[in-house]
């Protein structure tokens, strides 16, 4: 089944709220070799004006991943994880993610381009906090390979 072009513009429900924990931020920071104190020490983060430790910039991928799971779960998507390569990734921030944030992501597929048997699928996750304010938009370009 090729990638379904009708995914573009389809409405998806917001993901379940993701509560950003301080220890999760620290764990993620250690994993990406982020040793700046703002990621680890609440006092260092407060000195910069944040309520708690500041997540590294790519932490948003955790919430975006929930939206990509929604995409893969669409029975008619034609996207099979085993044939997917991550080709490009972008983030556009209104503010950094901070421990204590409750985040939800809304998925939209913004483009599908077919090149031979392959498809380039561009999807966006618009990530907002509990107050509904924009935090970050994460954009992935997935290369979905030809069926083997």
């Amino acid at each position: 089944m090729p990638v379904n072009p009708e995914l573009v513009g389809r409405a998806f429900p917001p993901t379940a709220p993701y509560l950003v924990g301080r220890e999760k931020v620290r764990e993620f920071a250690r994993a990406v070799f982020a040793d700046d104190p703002q990621h680890l020490d609440p006092n260092a983060a407060r000195a910069l004006g944040y309520a708690d430790v500041v997540a590294p910039p790519t932490f948003a991928m955790i919430v975006q991943d929930q939206t990509l799971q929604q995409l893969l779960a669409e029975p008619d998507s034609g996207i099979e994880l085993a044939r997917v390569l991550h080709a490009e990734q972008r983030f556009s921030y209104s503010r950094p993610i901070v421990a204590g944030d409750e985040l939800t992501g809304v998925l939209s597929v913004t483009g599908i381009r077919t090149i031979g048997g392959n498809a380039m699928v561009t999807s966006e996750a618009e990530i907002r906090d509990a107050a509904g304010a924009h935090v970050v938009t994460a954009t992935s370009v997935l290369l979905v390979g030809e069926e083997g």
Binding site: F33, D36, Y50
Partner: protein, 132 residues
């Protein structure tokens, strides 16, 4: 003053298999090509690969101490060019260099070069930052 061409930060990071397992747990990305030689080989890969998002994440952190505040990052994007094979014994050594590529009204564009030996791992790795 920040000027175009300035190298604002650089570092080397050694990735081991343990680094990949740590990132898998932290991120929730448990695709076995990032820890299992058996699965990586079965799907035709040259070996166990680092997560692209691990490389992207550690690359941008190179400039956070220079920025002082990660909140100055307005945009960050990369294109994944070549995967990083992480040897079970010797791991992989990544080199990251961050150079100012352009300055305009919105801020500075910092270009990240990420290499593994002679291989370029990421291309178009650009961080748009607000200047203090």
């Amino acid at each position: 003053m920040t000027a175009v061409g300035d190298v604002v930060a650089e570092r080397s990071i050694h990735l081991s298999r343990a680094s990949l397992v740590r990132y898998a747990g932290a991120s929730g990305d448990f695709n076995p090509i990032h820890y299992s030689d058996h699965v990586a080989g079965a799907v035709g890969l040259p070996g166990v690969l680092a997560h692209g998002m691990l490389t992207m994440g550690l690359a941008v952190e190179t400039i956070v101490p220079w920025l002082g505040d990660a909140g100055r990052i307005l945009e960050y994007g990369v294109r994944f060019k070549n995967p990083v094979v992480v040897d079970p014994e010797s791991g992989a050594e990544l080199r990251i260099v961050a150079k100012v590529g352009a300055i305009d009204d919105r801020g500075a564009r910092v270009d990240l070069t990420v290499t593994h030996g002679e291989t370029t791992v990421l291309v178009k790795a650009h961080v748009l930052v607000r200047l203090a």
